[in-house]
Symmetry: C2
Subunit: 324 residues, 2 copies
């Protein structure tokens, strides 16, 4: 059986920016993708975006499965009927409005229409599945599958089951993510901010305090990351960096744990982000560096940079697998 | 006048790993580098390392100035006499043992030997210059110039003046760092952990708590960074990422500041890093992934990855300067 055909049907519910990224990823891996939205215009825009992004992935040799971009795009269909979208599907990725009420409504509808085998995954970045699936009869089939922006070039997906999500659904979701070349990480339980944003916000909090306390300018805080910590983090996590910055992590801990605790105890209180002086400085610096009027250009440039980094990491991964 | 000759003489005091990295950077930019150590063996090892690393930079087209690696290496000399090392030098980078006592001793000696124009910079990652220069007659010429590992491929240098460092010395140090292709960031005052380690330790603290609380495995915590946050941070700082993940940073703040505060308030207390279960899990995971016995190999592999990222960033910087 043809590997591509074996991939089956996937439902994309909600065709905004995130939905169209998901559609691109699934089509690129050889799935039959069915787009759903209440707006025909949004569906058309998503289709155009998917077609264009598949071609860009093809140029960068970053398609996730066999076939050409135009062959893969032929597997993208759409409907304004949610039942039709979900019929015969093995996996549904929901990316509608980010509000608890909106998630409750769409999941309640999907609950009525889903088959026993259909996974119902939400792209929400902030709302645990338990907040909008508790009363559903298919609540064991629901969970969060949170992508990172921009998902075509950032492989992480946070898989966050609710207390009643079945283990089988969690495992199958991780497996599906791997088939599209994404990198799923499974949280053992629901936690505010999931994992990525907890770490990201801890970084932002200290960056903000350094500006607020007058230690660094906003520009310099960003330089500390992009020219200092960031290059290592493109390839290694914080634990890996510790391990390699000493003779292993035990050595690191023996030498630096006390110093780390001293520094951590010196960090200031949680910022409100309403400190007006810091807010003005940060806003002015960023608007000067990247004027909002030209944002589309900066976002496109970011995708090009991240695509090149993906190609680089892919090359190193291939070398590592060949035992180099 | 030949640009290379104009660069003048630089003193490298202490020829361990960090000293030899500095020697490489300065030689690569066309400076006359004079190495000093109390151990002739260390000096010889540093010279070998500098020669080898200049050749590797040459292959990657990452030399910082004109001339070939072998021409640049000809400008590297050495001495066991500190006075000879400092004579006629414009900038001294000290990288001896990381202890307050050791810094006091070497800075006290350099204080006696330095000319009026010589900058005395320490590579210390943890000890503010005020702790070891207060009683020196040339204390206004002293400051911290903290490199990040591995400095050949991580451009950030934290410039941390003491309360009595002269403004002229701070400015000249930043200028010197730019001549060797490094990216200086100037802290407005001494602060525990400087800037980079405050941010790094905030990351490590949350990574550690996620493992300790059983939310993520150590492997998955590292995946959250390297496949999630890290790729963006290779090119953008935390403020830049906020700006681009919304329609500018004001929009980001209006939409997400409240959510950030909620997440930040949920972060647990400062870890001691002595929590035995977490420590065992983290140690076992890292040792399995990168056995300490093969550390040299992993460190060399990291340099190759970071060198490729440097080349990539250099290409994008050149494009940006050409107005693309």
């Amino acid at each position: 059986m043809d590997e591509k055909m074996a991939r089956g049907k996937v439902s994309i519910v909600g065709c905004g920016l995130i939905g169209s990224y998901w559609g691109t990823l699934f089509a690129s891996a050889g799935y039959n993708v069915c787009l759903y939205d209440i707006s025909a215009e949004k569906i058309e825009a998503a289709k155009k975006s998917i077609e264009k992004k598949l071609r860009l992935l093809e140029i960068d040799d970053l398609l996730r499965g066999p076939g050409t971009a135009s062959e893969q795009f032929k597997n993208v269909s759409s409907t304004l009927d949610l039942a039709e979208c979900l019929a015969g599907s093995i996996y549904c990725q929901e990316s509608t409005t980010e509000s608890e009420q909106s998630k409750k409504e769409i999941f309640s509808k999907m609950d009525e229409l889903a088959s026993d085998d259909l996974i119902l995954a939400s792209s929400t970045s902030t709302i645990p599945a338990s907040h909008f699936t508790e009363r559903l009869k298919r609540r064991s089939q629901c969970l969060v599958s949170h992508p990172i922006n921009p998902p075509l070039f950032i492989p992480l997906v946070e898989i966050v089951p609710s207390p009643w999500t079945s283990e089988d659904v969690v495992m199958r979701t991780c497996a599906v993510m791997r088939t599209i070349g994404q990198s799923p990480v499974r949280l053992q339980r629901e936690i505010v901010g999931f994992a990525l944003n907890r770490i990201q916000f801890a970084i932002i909090a200290e960056a903000w305090r350094l500006v607020k306390e007058g230690v660094l300018s906003p520009e310099d805080v960003d330089i500390v990351m992009k020219d200092g910590l960031g290059p290592r983090y493109a390839f290694y996590g914080p634990l890996g960096v510790m391990h390699m910055n000493a003779n292993g992590i035990e050595d690191y801990m023996n030498r630096f744990a006390g110093g780390m605790v001293n520094v951590l105890r010196d960090l200031g209180p949680t910022p409100t982000f309403e400190e007006s002086e810091a807010r003005t400085m940060v806003t002015e610096a960023l608007n000067a560096e990247m004027p909002v009027s030209r944002m589309a250009e900066f976002v496109a440039d970011r995708e090009r940079r991240l695509a090149e980094l993906c190609k680089l990491k892919k090359r190193f991964d291939a070398e590592a697998q060949n035992g180099l």
